[in-house]
Symmetry: C3
Subunit: 275 residues, 3 copies
């Protein structure tokens, strides 16, 4: 370990378990190439970390049927955009999202949606990653949604959206804020639901999927996570999909974050009598 020692790493033969092979196949669908760049990057520093990513993350998790690859890439992108501390991986997975069929417009909407749950800096930084990515790929930018097409007042539109998506759980949040910070409650209705949720380009189901992944990864707002777990199911999400978003996010934010979110999911199911 002295400074005069020289690198003498002998590359080992590639692992060849069935889990590894399955993971390689999934990763090739996401990255659009093989061998994966992760294997190359870590080969001479932590090859087993690359193997674990391929065997566990891609071989075990991504191969599961509860979510399709496009949904997994949206969940991953939402989690990494919210954490804001892994921009190489965020770029990789936004590219992967395009590769498995997400549209450029969906990803721009995902970035915009993040303003609500992780703040404007997280949203802007995600948009700038997309800008770089689209430039590299020569992707035409999605046409700008016509804001004028949104009818009615922002508050009325937002309140209708909040009721339809989050139901009574969302209404209770606004009511609880009414006694201390009523304007904060109003901004949630007007901005989060009136401006953002009402936009086309990303389905309401995908918005709730992304929100659940982001709040699972952040780990700081279990009460809001439960509201959006209800929201995910209110707009058509299934129990097994919800549990899968949480399981999937273990890869990107660690097991403690996933365990805590799974316990919130359990409470959510009990409240819905789906336990």
């Amino acid at each position: 370990m002295t400074s005069s020692s020289v690198s003498s790493h002998v590359s080992s033969p590639a692992p060849s378990s069935p889990r590894y092979a399955a993971g390689l196949a999934q990763l090739a669908r996401i990255e659009g190439r093989s061998p994966p760049s992760l294997e190359t990057a870590l080969a001479d520093i932590a090859p087993d970390l690359a193997r674990f990513a391929i065997e566990f993350a891609y071989g075990d998790i991504y191969a599961r049927p509860q979510l399709d690859l496009a949904q997994r890439q949206l969940a991953t992108s939402g989690a990494l955009a919210a954490l804001g501390n892994a921009s190489p991986q965020l770029k990789f997975h936004l590219a992967g999202a395009l590769q498995v069929g997400c549209t450029a417009e969906e990803l721009v909407e995902l970035a915009t949606h993040m303003a609500v749950y992780a703040g404007f800096p997280a949203a802007v930084n995600t948009a700038l990653v997309l800008k770089e990515l689209f430039a590299e790929k020569g992707i035409a930018l999605p046409p700008k949604p016509d804001a004028q097409a949104l009818e009615g007042s922002r508050y009325a539109r937002g309140w209708a959206g909040l009721q339809a998506i989050d139901g009574h759980a969302g209404e209770r949040v606004i009511a609880a804020l009414g006694e201390v910070a009523p304007d904060l409650g109003r901004y949630i209705v007007e901005f989060a639901f009136g401006d953002v949720y009402a936009r086309p380009g990303l389905s309401v189901l995908s918005r709730e999927l992304v929100t659940v992944a982001a709040l699972t990864a952040l780990g700081t707002a279990p009460a809001q996570l439960k509201v959006h777990m209800h929201g995910f199911m209110n707009v058509g999400g299934k129990r097994e999909q919800l549990v899968e978003i949480v399981t999937h996010t273990a890869v990107y934010a660690g097991f403690p974050a996933a365990i805590n979110a799974a316990l919130v999911a359990k409470e959510t199911m009990a409240e819905r009598n789906l336990g």
Copy 2:
């Protein structure tokens, strides 16, 4: 969306709602130029995200009278310094703080103050952003405070400060630590209060404002957030200012963080019989 497609984005006319105009005016006061760089940076990737930032963050929030622009820039800088994951925005808002009248010394103190609430790496990285910013602007650095001017022992000075600022809530924290980690309690008195809070250059009210914004954004320490909400009010902060710091921080850390802090504010007010 193939790699051979070319960019065909047609720039849309600038939005022109009253909220947008109000936001543009506030942002010009902070950035010291117009049109805002955010609008330019996002024009061909997520123009509506820029519009939302201008309409909602600057038009709705910054225009509110409960905090002045200098206080808002301190709150934003404290939140982003603590999160540590958005350094372009941190630099932008530290520059904005200078633009609206904060002194260079206040910002250096803000960086130093962060060591207590988000750790030394967050503090050092904020100081290095300031170093870059001051070099670009040719700003003379503030004279170094004379540490020798602080009289008495660090512990005695710190204990007096903790009592004056955080009151019984602060004393209870130290007592609770006494049974398990008494030295940690001693360091809070000596370092946080004896060394840092006692420094000139940033008022105690501003220190508590920055602390409330930082802990709201981090979202991981609601008990300490409540101690410092009491602290903010103990040193002269007003109820509506406290609620406004929380509302303001929604822009930088998202609504879930702000909702949780608002509910802590509600408990704080109830304890003070100001509910």
Copy 3:
């Protein structure tokens, strides 16, 4: 503060308190040089922040006997790897870990271990920092552990490890997940314990030390922190070492994170009747 003002900072004489001298000596052992680079980097922007780091972090904390320097560098590296938002400091402290006697293999294992507690992106980014560091220092990479040497099924090996390390507290987590996300529980057994904890190169005691530091810094999973505080003591860690990991982490993640972890330690001790 106008753009035409010029820097007129007059460098002050170096501080010379006994705490400062003690801190300088500790820091020289970690950095392997003197004067410290931190003092130089902050000299003309926030010299007192550098002084506080030297007096408080290195003079007060690092000089304490409850943990040795190698353990402190592992704790620091685990905390910063998990936070993921201070990569210059992460690199500095990984280099410091080598300087005080940690092996290259231990650090690669630390990076790999992070996949479990902070997710794969945090693990991969830490491995890439190590790659850069080892290249700069001409360090030969550790031989790849022979995965085939791990006998038996991943689940059986993992379950035995989980029982030995986390005891009943770990078993209860898996049981609680069984009702909502049984596969997540299975992955914890197979991947976290069967694949990662079973690896040579980083002792189980060091793995629990790193885990406690990481979860203290993240601040988002107090229940899992308690499981691993029990785990640290189950594998031979001492009460005073556990409290010291928490106290040490105040330097890297701030006092609120340390206070909350100290209160979890208090509960842990009470459960073990060591209060």
